[in-house]
């Protein structure tokens, strides 16, 4: 661990392990990560850019943010340290919990627990969907956004496969939002 490069990678791994053990979800980890990395590993400007890109590109945003921070601090090996740190905690938690739960799968109380949980889970999804809608349309909600929302609602209602609907909405976005001049 005397080589300064290894030190950076090791510090990155420790930092991401910590952030992922302490934060309950991807969006929540942004705050933690900001405190841990801005000023020490990267500038505020780099961090903001990393957040922006992780929102736009496909895949889990927490993971992408971790990799951006890792890259800024330690190049490609930094990306790998960040990835490892972000993956290990949820993997361990989930596999342990899943295997324990499997034994109780047919217990009456677990069924009741899930029955009580499902309205709250549905509420959580509604809430996140609103947050997503609000954050992603940073400018005010205009007619084009409403139009896409209504069209995709109709498409889902008729049970058109969701990947097609999403692709269509994106392509529609290119046409509707692309003409706007900045």
């Amino acid at each position: 661990m005397n080589n300064p490069k290894f030190k950076v990678w090791w510090d990155l791994l420790k930092m991401f392990l910590k952030v992922n053990i302490l934060s309950p979800s991807g969006p929540a980890s942004v705050g933690f990560l900001y405190e841990e990395s801005v000023g020490k590993l990267m500038t505020e400007e780099q961090f903001v850019e990393a957040v922006g890109f992780s929102n736009v590109l496909p895949g889990s945003e927490a993971l992408k943010l971790a990799m951006f921070v890792g890259y800024a601090a330690g190049g490609i090996p930094g990306v790998m340290s960040a990835l490892l740190g972000a993956i290990i905690p949820p993997t361990v938690f989930m596999l342990v919990v899943a295997s324990v739960l499997e034994r109780f799968q047919h217990e009456n109380w677990l069924t009741a627990f899930v029955a009580g949980m499902s309205p709250a889970v549905a509420a959580l999804i509604v809430f996140v969907s609103w947050e997503l809608f609000r954050v992603s349309s940073r400018r005010r909600i205009d007619r084009r956004i409403i139009l896409i929302a209504i069209l995709s609602g109709i498409a889902f209602w008729f049970e058109i496969p969701s990947p097609f609907v999403l692709l269509g909405a994106g392509i529609l976005g290119v046409f509707l939002f692309g003409r706007r001049s900045y």
Binding site: N55, A112, P119
Partner: protein
């Protein structure tokens, strides 16, 4: 019995089409419920991944994978979820400067966002309907949870409380 390859491809697909963990819930629901896991298992997976620390999306993927094919299933789901963003990030960091000028990419994402929100509403409704608690108790739990979340109460506490309440109400 679905092959591990099939499982892997589902998660690659979901992670290519959604831009964040929470947003993948709607898409994943359509891909797996009914053919790979039951409604009950899916609700458990979403509930647990919002309760446990760490990335929701990865935990959700692993739980589904585990339910379908045990530990290898969990690992395959993990690999499928990690691969697209990793390759994309490695690519993007190299062409970052050129990508910044591509306006069509942000327009595409702007169009995607409202559709994802609507998809999630449909998913929420299905989960509510099939969760079994559709009487006044279920509506009450759902509405109170929603209000609490808008008041910024931590979601994991709410989900656990709702489950505990369920034990008293429904068993």
């Amino acid at each position: 019995m679905p092959s591990l390859l099939q499982l892997f491809l589902i998660f690659v697909k979901v992670n290519l089409l959604s831009t964040s963990g929470p947003a993948s819930v709607g898409l994943l629901y359509h891909e797996v419920v009914g053919n790979l896991v039951t409604e009950l298992q899916f609700v458990q997976a979403v509930g647990l991944s919002s309760v446990l620390p760490g990335s929701d999306a990865l935990q959700l993927a692993m739980y589904i994978g585990y339910a379908v094919a045990g530990v290898p299933g969990g690992l395959v789901a993990l690999a499928g979820s990690i691969l697209p963003p990793t390759l994309i990030i490695l690519g993007v960091t190299m062409i970052l400067h050129r990508l910044r000028r591509e306006a069509w990419l942000s327009s595409f994402v702007e169009g995607l966002a409202p559709a994802i929100s609507v998809l999630m509403l449909f998913t929420a409704w299905k989960i509510f309907q099939k969760g079994g608690a559709t009487g006044w108790e279920g509506w009450a739990i759902g509405l109170v949870s929603l209000v609490a979340m808008f008041l910024e109460a931590p979601a994991r506490i709410i989900v656990i409380l709702a489950g505990l309440l369920g034990i008293f109400l429904f068993s």
